[in-house]
């Protein structure tokens, strides 16, 4: 195994803290314009900080920063490696886009408590980057919990009864599983291995028996309920009561991807591929993921609420990533990891479209959207592109990741998985295409729309156009993500 | 049998202190009247004092005040044998304990007066009924 060059730098901490530091400014700023300007500044600064670390990582080095040693052998420590970089890149870049979109959305609907909204948004982003850059399980757990609590006020933003019950469900699933499953699993790992530091080959290897390993695996898989693996998925549709930008960023990018990211990190950094392979646990993960993919897609078919359909789609898509890593083959892992990015850009576009439709027309259900494509052509075009990406058709980024997944399943000699992937792609098409079809090619019934319906405000439309375009660009220029995934695969497989 | 009897006799004080203490404890738990409980509490404390004082007793010893003849002052060096005097340390401790007992008694009585002002009874069950009815 090659030694990895490490560089000590405070940049990761800054990247985490910058959105935290901006919160007091947000609270104290008097006018909305100032407030949003600051958010924007913070978003861009964060993105620049992340980008500035990209070259180092692409060169195969890692950036390390230790904040404090809180327990013997365990510190609150940041480490920027390829995988974290990939995730940080996606989330920080999408924050900028979402900020723009939020401004449009929140102002468009004249939402209350906008200051609070932006504050917690910033907090959530801090936590996300924190998870991405964490060097050990404890730090990851810290930011994971911080994210759970920071997003609660966002989910219950409307402060009505529905929001309250959804908020309860959200917390129950997310925090409950993390305390009940992740915490003990983490403690057990610590007492077994005496460390929590992620390492390329996992630190559990050779320290635990098979039964304990399986127990830990199950605890970790279900513990990170943000990943939405069934049966711990039902918080995700419930959380769709949140304002759309929240759904867009948090439930397409930050929260759910943090869950998946954590699972992948744990599978690779704690267990290590070798251990999983030797115990043949990959198969278990893969079948679990396949089940979620299929069932999630099937449920998505029957949903009428647009956001709920997207939510179930997300559940299914997240399991692609888990599945990819679970295949334990280099191609599979690459596919899974890159899917984080591809799916993020696709799904955020879809959510933004849903939000834009809501802002413009106030409609939430698919059955009410007949013919909407004629009124809002830009939005619906973006929607079409994004759904292509999700289905996995060229010329969109989603195709590449899916392609790698298929290759990976072949490489791992898992023929059933191939069928799962193909079936689910068909299902994806089956639940997205009708929307597009109805939107563009059916005529609306009378009095369905008021005559004044136009495109949503500019602040809403621009971001979704940007992300849709990026989805296409990623098909042609996916190199940064693949480079990062390659470095990561090389790290964990030792090749 | 004689062994048992001699044990009982030899530690008579200890058995009585246990009895008294249990009477006090029982009163504190089982009595319904607040002042009765305070009486029980005082008995409980006295029983412990009895225990301590019993520790200090020494066969054939006198009270822990040195035989001191007035007028001679410090000149006469007295030879004092420890075995001649009762152990003074438990007495000291128990002086403190008695004081604590009086202090606790005062506070407890003050509290019961406050309670009576409010509920017009000192029976615990009646007070609890009143509280429940208020809700």
């Amino acid at each position: 195994m090659e030694t990895i060059e490490t560089i000590t730098s405070i940049k990761p901490l800054l990247a985490v803290l910058i959105s935290l530091l901006v919160v007091p400014i947000l609270v104290s700023s008097r006018t909305p314009n100032v407030r949003e300007a600051w958010t924007f500044v913070a978003a861009i600064a964060k993105f620049l900080l992340v980008i500035s670390m990209l070259p180092v990582v692409l060169n195969g080095a890692e950036i390390v920063y230790t904040v404090a040693e809180v327990l013997p052998g365990v510190a609150i420590k940041f480490r920027v490696d390829a995988f974290g970089m990939l995730f940080a890149l996606v989330s920080s870049s999408l924050w900028i886009v979402t900020t723009i979109y939020s401004i449009g959305y929140m102002r468009g609907l004249k939402e209350h408590s906008q200051t609070r909204y932006f504050c917690y948004f910033a907090l959530a982003l801090s936590a996300t980057i924190g998870v991405a850059f964490s060097a050990n399980l404890l730090t990851m757990y810290l930011f994971y919990e911080m994210l759970s609590f920071a997003t609660y006020p966002l989910v219950t933003h409307h402060q009505d009864r529905e929001a309250r019950s959804s908020g309860r469900k959200y917390l129950l699933y997310i925090v409950g599983t993390s305390i009940a499953f992740v915490l003990p699993a983490m403690m057990i790992s610590y007492s077994l291995a005496g460390t929590l530091e992620f390492s390329g080959q996992g630190f559990l290897a050779g320290t635990s028996s098979k039964e304990v390993t399986i127990l830990l695996l199950v605890l970790f898989l279900f513990g990170f309920a943000k990943a939405g693996i069934m049966p711990f998925h039902s918080w995700l549709p419930a959380a769709m009561v949140a304002p759309t930008p929240v759904s867009a960023l948090l439930h397409a990018v930050a929260v759910v991807k943090v869950g998946v990211f954590s699972i992948v990190r744990v599978l690779t950094g704690v267990f290590g591929t070798d251990l999983l392979l030797s115990l043949n646990l990959g198969t278990f993960i893969v079948y679990l993921a396949s089940f979620t993919i299929l069932v999630g897609s099937l449920i998505a078919l029957s949903q009428d609420g647009l956001k709920r359909r997207l939510a179930f789609s997300t559940i299914a898509q997240l399991s692609y990533i888990v599945l990819g890593v679970g295949l334990l083959s280099p191609k599979g892992i690459t596919g899974g990891v890159v899917h984080i990015a591809m799916h993020a850009f696709g799904k955020i576009t879809l959510f933004m479209c849903a939000g834009a439709i809501f802002v413009a027309t106030g409609k939430k259900n698919i059955s009410e959207m007949v013919g909407i494509g004629r009124r809002m052509p830009i939005t619906m075009t973006a929607f079409f592109i994004a759904s292509l990406s999700i289905i996995g058709l060229p010329p969109c980024g989603g195709f590449l990741s899916k392609w790698y997944l298929v290759l990976g399943s072949l490489e791992a000699h898992q023929m059933p998985i191939l069928f799962v992937l193909l079936t689910s792609s068909l299902l994806n098409a089956a639940y997205f295409m009708p929307i597009v079809y109805k939107a563009f090619f059916c005529t609306p019934q009378e009095a369905m729309f008021e005559n004044t319906v136009q495109e949503a405000p500019l602040f809403c439309v621009v971001p979704l156009v940007i992300t849709a375009i990026i989805s296409i660009i990623l098909f042609f220029y996916p190199q940064p993500f693949f480079r990062l995934a390659d470095i990561m695969v090389r790290n964990i497989t030792g090749m | 049998m004689t062994d048992l009897v001699s044990t009982i006799i030899a530690k008579y004080n200890y058995w009585i202190y246990i009895t008294l203490m249990m009477i006090g404890l029982y009163a504190m738990i089982a009595k319904n009247n607040l002042i009765k409980k305070i009486v029980g509490m005082s008995m409980f404390q006295t029983a412990i004092i009895l225990f301590y004082v019993s520790i200090g007793v020494k066969k054939g010893a006198t009270i822990p005040i040195l035989e001191y003849s007035h007028g001679h002052g410090h000149d006469t060096q007295l030879v004092v044998h420890a075995a001649d005097y009762v152990n003074p340390l438990p007495h000291v401790l128990m002086l403190t304990a008695i004081v604590v007992g009086v202090a606790t008694l005062g506070v407890a009585l003050a509290l019961s007066i406050r309670i009576y002002d409010r509920y017009n009874t000192l029976e615990e069950d009646e007070i609890l009924t009143q509280i429940r009815e208020e809700k």
Binding site: - | L25, Y26, A30, K58, I65, A82, N87, V99
Partner: protein, 277 residues
């Protein structure tokens, strides 16, 4: 509750009986308690503190730190009672009615709050539950009280040589005042010894004790190490200990006396300070 109480006490008692089997026999001169620590006190008290009453010596010198807090306990009991019971503001529903008695005719009149008494010397203020004053009781108490107080002072001062000391003397002094309060009425006492004075004296008593200790501390030795007081008391260190014990006992006496009065006044008038037992 009765059954629970019975079970608990029987269980505890059984455990204690079980443990008592291992005690040294009662009044055994060779038990550890009698041979380990106490011989030092008994044999060395005289040369180390020059106080023949070992209990006093241990109480006020060897373990004076305990005693200081014991005084503080008494003080805090008085303070807590005051804190809990003393009512300075009445409930709005109650209007104060004061009772007066015409000394010549024996007619009792009630005066509602806000009204005033006709200016006359012939009225004396009485309790609401007035009873004719018991002449016998009053007289005999008046006779006894000075002696009791004198005896109380003797007990405080003579604590070095005989049983007694600050605490006992203080209680006797306090009891004598309580006796006056019982045989006359509470107002008589409060008029002579105001509440403020009682409260302040109570604190002063503890202050004398802990202040003596703190003085030692200021003089550069450990807290309550009376040897350091020798230059101030103008005696040799050994006598200084004895004298310091006396000072300390006086502090205890003052604190205890006033606390007893304070407690009694608060308890018997339920904090209203108008009329008592």
């Amino acid at each position: 509750m009765k059954i629970i109480g019975l079970i608990i006490s029987v269980l505890t008692g059984a455990m204690l009986v079980y443990a008592a089997a291992d005690f040294p026999a009662w009044s055994d001169p060779s038990s550890p308690a009698s041979t380990y620590l106490s011989p030092h006190f008994i044999e060395k008290t005289m040369e180390e503190t020059s106080v023949p009453n070992i209990v006093t010596a241990v109480l006020a010198d060897y373990r004076s730190f305990d005693t200081m807090f014991e005084t503080a306990v008494i003080f805090s009991a008085g303070l807590v009672c005051f804190f809990l019971l003393r009512t300075t503001r009445r409930k709005e529903s109650e209007t104060e009615t004061t009772h007066y008695r015409h000394t010549l005719t024996g007619v009792t009149i009630q005066i509602k709050e806000g009204h005033t008494l006709p200016p006359s010397d012939e009225f004396e203020r009485i309790d609401s539950l007035w009873t004719p004053s018991g002449l016998i009781i009053k007289t005999s108490c008046r006779l006894l009280v000075p002696f009791i107080q004198l005896f109380g002072l003797y007990v405080i001062a003579h604590g070095h040589y005989s049983p007694g000391g600050g605490f006992q003397g203080g209680v006797i002094l306090g009891a004598s005042i309580i006796m006056l309060a019982i045989s006359y009425d509470l107002r008589t006492i409060i008029e002579r010894i105001s509440e403020k004075m009682v409260a302040v004296l109570c604190a002063v008593g503890v202050l004398i004790f802990s202040g003596t200790g703190a003085l030692c501390l200021l003089l550069g030795v450990n807290f309550l190490d009376y040897n350091a007081l020798a230059p101030i008391l103008l005696v040799d260190p050994l006598t200084a200990r004895s004298h310091a014990i006396l000072i300390v006992e006086i502090g205890v006496g003052v604190a205890v006396m006033t606390t007893m009065i304070w407690l009694y006044c608060n308890l018997s008038s339920a904090g209203k300070y108008n009329q008592g037992l």
